[in-house]
């Protein structure tokens, strides 16, 4: 390190690797002064020369200089005084080497510098005061130049010389203030930024070096303006130049720069400055380019010609306090950095090390530089695809690849991990500051909040959290949320059957269509009333007949009361106690549909024990236009033809009695094991059966000619059971009855579906709707779809499980009668229907016109979120689509797929 250091020194500080020097310096600094002195001694000649030459040139300059060359002089003064530190060793050595004083001065100066920092105004005096210590040596060498420079009115110089030489006359106030400002800055810089100092130290070396570079004085025909770095032909022009706008501007800029310097310290110090031209370059390469450049060459030439000091080609590294230096105009101005030396201690050095600028940057993104070749294959230019820029020069390309902009692009587009120094622009910094400020405010706010109202705070916390989660969800929804993957062990695992408890979904388009169709097929009120009336009349008339029969055969009835009780399906206790009329009325009016018992407490033996509604009537499955309803009369014994005839004979009169104003026709229907009552366009089929018909088959195989058809009787019994089952299972099931009505309609409308008997269809619907996992209630639209899904999935196909009939022994297949082709066709139809439903054409399945979209008001309300409800069929399409639908939907639309 030491060698490095000294090596650097001998070369005029060309190669100050920051760290090395710093460390070395400190190693040497306090204890090894002698050694240092020795080294300096060896170097002395060079140092001396430079110093001398500097002085000489100064001298020359001074002679030439008109009183108004402030900058240069001023700078010189600085060099001598404030900036002395850096060059001090050399100068001291050159001046006749007083090692002893050296040390003292050294310390003194340290103190003095600090003092300086304290008060800028008081500084000049103090400064000189301290300076006195080594003044002798100094004066010896510098006497002449100093004297000569007095011509120029320079504040610092003056200050110094006021003490040393006293030859001093008026300097103008402006300059003075400028100088003080400058000094203040410097000291400020030194005070607040020791780190920067080290570089200045190096600078000092450079400064010394600069001096050496000075050529021996030439005849001074050239008038050189140091601020503007130009030469003038003669004193006149020179003066004019100095008066001129350009110069003034530049001078002002210089001063400005000096004052601004403090702010710019904050910049990361990796820019380089050409001291000669006062050009700041942003990097090594830029600097190199500048050095090669014509402008720089010209200035060098001029300076050589002038014999002015040419600063080494070492770039001045700008950073921290340096900045102020760089903006000062002086060429061989020795820096405030000198201050760094005295104050230097371990820490500073470290920090200095860190500041060391510009580790060699590796060019990146070679792949993205396109070479553009001319026709003969020569590379004529380059195109950077990342930054979209062109260069003709390979050097420029190299520089670009190391450049900040390119690296940023590379970071952005290729490797996000690439480290690029942040160079916050003023705006960014402001934003940053603003952020910090707000963060602080927020913190304070929360802190206060926390103290004052913890509960409220909590509320807000949750609110915040919720918002956060919402955002998170939103992000997640957009995909690419790698870290948040929640692998589910099962696809669709814990399948999304939305278990109960969820709010019931609103009505969907399918629901609306299903309900609309349902209300179309549901019987009108007057139809229902008419049916109700005829049924009621028939029932009451049958009761009358039963009474008559009971009275005519009292003997038989008395014996087997017990047996009757067991054989009776379900005598309703509540009804039994009621009086005949009221019971009758209540039952007919309500949806009771239970057995209408003819029995009363006292008589246990009637032949006709009761009548019950069965089939669609009892199940509430009547559709508009239905004219046939069924009743079943339970008999105590096997129903015989004789009994039937007897009833047919008695019934008209009974009817007349019950409803004198209506005309009913009673006909015997032995084939159906019953009779029919017609009137008002309606037909009531009354079947006779008895529970005994079942038991008998095993015991008594003998055919009684008189007994009614056994098959029909059994059917009638089954109808009773079906009704019971239906009332128990389907009526309570949400949507089920609606769907069965719709399916009944479908079976009537569509030939493909007609083979599916009503009971099988009811079973199917009930099973499918009730088997929803989670016991979720389905809306009508969903229920219909689910039924279609079930059939579509091959439930009815050969090989399917079949529909177990719960009302029969060993639950046989309720749909066993279907042929394979019928099963196939049903499945096919359901498959098509399912897809129609999925694609919003449920109306085709239902055989209706599409409904218009829901009303506007309704929609606007829900437009904010995704609607389940669609009304998918826009009003627009009503004209054309509607027509098409009418033709297609009119005639069994679901049948289209079948053949």
């Amino acid at each position: 390190m030491a060698t490095n250091n000294y090596f650097g020194f001998t070369h005029g500080g060309t190669q100050y690797s920051a760290t090395a020097t710093g460390a070395a310096y400190h190693a040497v600094a306090a204890p090894a002064t002698a050694a240092a002195a020795a080294t300096y001694g060896t170097q002395r000649p060079a140092g001396y020369d430079t110093a001398y030459q500097a002085a000489a040139s100064q001298g020359t300059y001074a002679t030439v200089g008109t009183g108004a060359t402030p900058a240069y002089e001023y700078g010189y003064g600085q060099t001598a005084a404030a900036g002395y530190t850096g060059g001090y060793d050399q100068t001291a050595a050159a001046a006749a080497a007083k090692p002893a004083t050296y040390a003292t001065t050294y310390t003194q100066r340290t103190g003095q510098q600090q003092a300086q920092a304290a008060t800028a105004a008081a500084k000049p005096a103090q400064y000189t005061g301290t300076y006195q210590a080594n003044a002798t040596g100094y004066q010896a060498t510098y006497a002449q130049p100093a004297v000569q420079t007095t011509i120029a009115a320079q504040p610092t110089t003056q200050a110094k010389q006021a003490n040393s030489t006293t030859t001093y006359s008026g300097y103008d106030a402006a300059l003075y203030s400028a100088a003080t400002m400058y000094v203040a800055q410097q000291s400020g810089g030194a005070g607040q930024q020791k780190t920067g100092g080290w570089q200045s130290y190096k600078k000092g070396g450079l400064g010394a070096k600069n001096m050496r570079a000075k050529a021996p004085p030439k005849p001074q025909q050239l008038h050189y303006c140091d601020v503007c770095k130009i030469s003038c032909a003669g004193p006149q022009t020179y003066r004019e130049h100095l008066e001129g706008q350009k110069h003034k501007k530049r001078e002002a800029a210089t001063k400005m720069a000096a004052s601004v310097a403090v702010t710019s310290q904050n910049r990361a110090g990796n820019s380089l400055r050409c001291q000669l031209c006062d050009v700041t370059c942003t990097g090594n390469d830029a600097y190199a380019a500048h050095i090669r450049g014509a402008k720089h060459q010209k200035v060098v030439l001029l300076h050589t010609k002038l014999g002015k000091p040419i600063p080494p080609q070492e770039p001045e590294v700008i950073g921290g306090a340096r900045k102020s230096v760089s903006s000062s105009p002086k060429i061989n101005f020795v820096q405030s950095g000198g201050l760094g030396i005295p104050t230097g201690n371990g820490d500073t050095v470290k920090e200095e090390e860190e500041e060391t600028p510009e580790p060699d940057i590796q060019p990146v993104g070679q792949e993205y530089i396109e070479e553009i070749k001319s026709d003969d294959g020569k590379v004529i230019s380059f195109n950077c695809k990342l930054c979209e820029c062109h260069f003709n020069d390979p050097n420029a390309k190299e520089m670009h690849m190391k450049g900040r902009r390119h690296r940023l692009q590379y970071k952005k587009k290729v490797n996000p991990d690439l480290v690029v120094d942040v160079k916050p622009s003023l705006r960014q910094r402001k934003i940053q500051e603003e952020k910090l400020r707000q963060a602080a405010l927020r913190e304070e706010f929360w802190a206060r909040r926390h103290y004052n109202m913890p509960e409220d705070e909590e509320g807000i916390y949750w609110e915040d959290r919720r918002r956060y989660e919402e955002e998170y969800m939103e992000m997640a929804r957009r995909g690419n949320m790698g870290p948040y993957l929640r692998g589910r062990p099962f696809p669709g695992g814990a399948p999304p059957y939305f278990q109960g408890g969820l709010p019931r979904r609103t009505e969907s388009s399918d629901d609306r269509h299903a309900m609309a169709r349902h209300s179309e097929i549901y019987p009108k009120e007057e139809e229902l009333q008419a049916i109700q009336r005829i049924v009621s009349h028939t029932e009451r008339a049958l009761k009358n007949v039963s009474d008559q029969l009971a009275e005519s055969k009292p003997k038989e009835g008395q014996t087997p009361p017990a047996g009757q009780g067991s054989g009776k399906p379900d005598p309703n206790a509540a009804n039994k106690t009621d009086t005949e009329k009221s019971v009758d009325q209540q039952k007919e009016d309500g949806r009771d549909n239970q057995l209408f018992s003819f029995q009363q407490d006292r008589d246990g033996n009637r032949i006709l024990k009761g009548v019950m509604r069965v089939g669609h009537l009892a199940k509430g499955l009547l559709l508009r236009g239905d004219t046939n309803v069924e009743l079943v009369v339970l008999c105590a014994d096997k129903p015989t033809l004789t009994l039937l005839k007897k009833v047919v004979e008695l019934l008209p009169a009974a009817l007349k009695q019950v409803a004198p104003e209506y005309i009913y026709t009673v006909t015997i229907n032995a084939a159906e094991a019953g009779l029919t009552v017609t009137g008002d366009g309606l037909t009531v089929l009354v079947q006779f059966t008895s529970p005994i018909m079942r038991e008998q088959e095993a015991t008594n195989g003998g055919l009684d000619r008189d007994v009614l058809s056994r098959g029909k009787c059994l059917q009638a019994l089954a109808a009773l059971r079906h009704t019971k089952w239906f009332q128990a299972r389907a009526l309570g099931l949400h949507s089920c009855v609606v769907i069965i009505r719709i399916l009944r309609d479908l079976c009537q409308r569509v030939p493909t579906w007609s083979p599916l008997n009503s009971w099988a269809m009811e079973l199917l619907a009930e099973k499918v709707i009730s088997s929803v996992p989670g016991q979720v209630q389905l809306s009508p639209g969903d229920a219909l779809r689910r039924v279609m899904e079930a059939v579509a999935s091959g439930l009815l196909l050969p090989g399917g499980p079949g529909l177990g009939d719960p009302c029969e022994k060993d639950s046989p297949d309720a749909a066993a009668a279907l042929s394979p082709q019928q099963r196939e066709d049903l499945t096919c139809s359901a498959q098509y229907a399912l897809r129609l439903i999925a694609y919003r054409q449920i109306y085709k399945v239902l055989g209706m016109d599409p409904l218009p979209a829901p009303q506007k008001v309704f929609r606007r309300d829900r437009s904010a979120r995704k609607r389940r409800r669609s009304g998918g069929e826009p009003e627009v399409s009503e004209s054309d689509t509607g027509k098409m639908v009418k033709t297609e939907g009119g005639e069994a639309p679901a049948e289209t797929p079948v053949k």
């Binding site: 792949e367 388009s509 088997s771 779809r785 499980p801 079949g802 196939e824 389940r868």
Partner: protein, 393 residues
């Protein structure tokens, strides 16, 4: 009517009153699935004997499984490439066009569901850097070079010369017997930095990341052999029936897993039952609009996998399954498995034992021109969904 309108408004306001959580009113429903409601449908007649069918399934699987020679060929190539890539991860040396973070095998080769004759293995390379085309090109060249070095001592038989190509997914290296696709992607947090001008397509990058998740999921959840057999059979069916084209390998994986494992007992169903169940599920509209379908287990949010298909594709897929289901029910399994006949059964009328099986028509209609302000119903949301499917096989 008025009252109803009021209620509607009231309800929607009530919902709107909970702003942070948008209550999604669309609750897709799971379609009818016989396997889940066998309680309601007890078998009323003995199940037909299916041993022949099962044997046919197993035979077909054996036919479809790659031969040992094929396995070896592809394994050799995969191993080499994996070695080269692993080296690049560990010691990139002076290769700086991109930085590799991770190399993973994915796809059918990794999962063990490869179908014979389709000897493609997939490897996903996750880059730390962004996947520019140049980087991929450079990676391709590097791999090529390294492979050459690796194989310089081998005697390269005819047909074993490697060909390298680069495409928008990454690199493909193949010889006459096998092909390895090196699919490039980048770290997750880099995804949104992708610029279509410079980088590979973002969706493809995401799909490659997804592929990794998929193969991980598969390892953990779908290791059951029946699932693999079923996947292989399904892949074959998919390849032969046009309507199933839009089903991605990932969908098939999930579907097979679902069909085999998703039942009340959580025990694997027999292959014949599961195979039929696939068609039953699809016929019941598992992959139709409005169905809950299968939720992608590898996406953070609930994403129904079938939404990657267009509505029309969903329709066609469903109707193909519906027709095949009926063919299957009438004993046409040999045609479905490709042991006999051809795929025309999905589109043409066929007669099985006197039963005429007719093909189905599409239910999907091209939507009429949307009026301004006409919103897409959730049923129609599918088209917009981001497709997360992968091309890995």
């Amino acid at each position: 009517k008025m009252a109803r309108g009021m209620r509607g408004r009231g309800m929607s306001r009530g919902i709107g009153g909970r702003p942070p959580y948008k209550v999604k009113m669309f609750l897709p429903r799971h379609p009818f699935d016989l396997a889940l409601c066998e309680m309601s449908f007890p078998r009323v007649k003995p199940a037909p004997d299916e041993t022949v069918f099962t044997q046919a399934l197993l035979k077909r699987n054996a036919d479809l499984s790659p031969t040992p020679a094929e396995q070896t060929a592809i394994l050799n190539l995969v191993t080499k490439i994996q070695t080269v890539l692993d080296n690049l991860v560990v010691a990139p040396g002076n290769f700086d066009a991109c930085q590799l973070d991770e190399v993973r095998q994915v796809g059918s080769f990794k999962k063990g569901t490869m179908v014979a004759g389709h000897n493609v293995a997939d490897i996903v390379v996750i880059l730390k850097t962004l996947p520019t085309r140049e980087a991929v090109e450079a990676l391709g060249n590097k791999v090529k070079e390294d492979l050459k070095n690796l194989m310089k001592n081998e005697i390269v038989a005819k047909g074993e010369q490697l060909t390298h190509t680069t495409n928008e997914r990454g690199i493909e290296i193949s010889n006459a017997f096998a092909c390895v696709r090196v699919m490039v992607t980048t770290l997750h947090h880099n995804i949104r930095k992708l610029d279509p001008e410079i980088h590979l397509d973002q969706k493809i990058m995401l799909s490659h990341l997804a592929a990794i998740r998929h193969s991980r999921w598969f390892e953990e959840n779908a290791h059951h052999s029946s699932i693999k057999v079923l996947i292989r059979l399904l892949r074959d069916v998919r390849n032969r029936f046009e309507g199933f084209e839009p089903l991605t390998p990932w969908m098939l994986d999930l579907l097979a897993h679902f069909a085999i494992m998703h039942n009340p007992s959580r025990q694997a169903l027999p292959i014949n039952v599961a195979f039929r169940r696939i068609f039953q599920l699809l016929s019941a509209g598992l992959f139709l609009p409005g169905s809950a379908g299968i939720t992608d287990p590898c996406e953070g949010v609930s994403l129904r996998i079938h939404t990657a298909m267009t509505l029309e594709q969903q329709d066609i897929c469903c109707l193909t399954a519906q027709t095949l289901l009926r063919v299957l029910a009438h004993g046409g399994y040999k045609h479905i498995l490709g042991l006999e006949g051809n795929s025309s059964i999905a589109k043409e009328m066929s007669v099985w034992d006197g039963v005429v099986v007719s093909p189905l028509d599409k239910a999907y209609e091209n939507p009429p021109e949307k009026k301004e302000g006409e919103e897409e119903d959730e049923d129609m949301e599918a088209e917009g969904d981001e497709s997360m499917e992968t091309q890995e096989t």
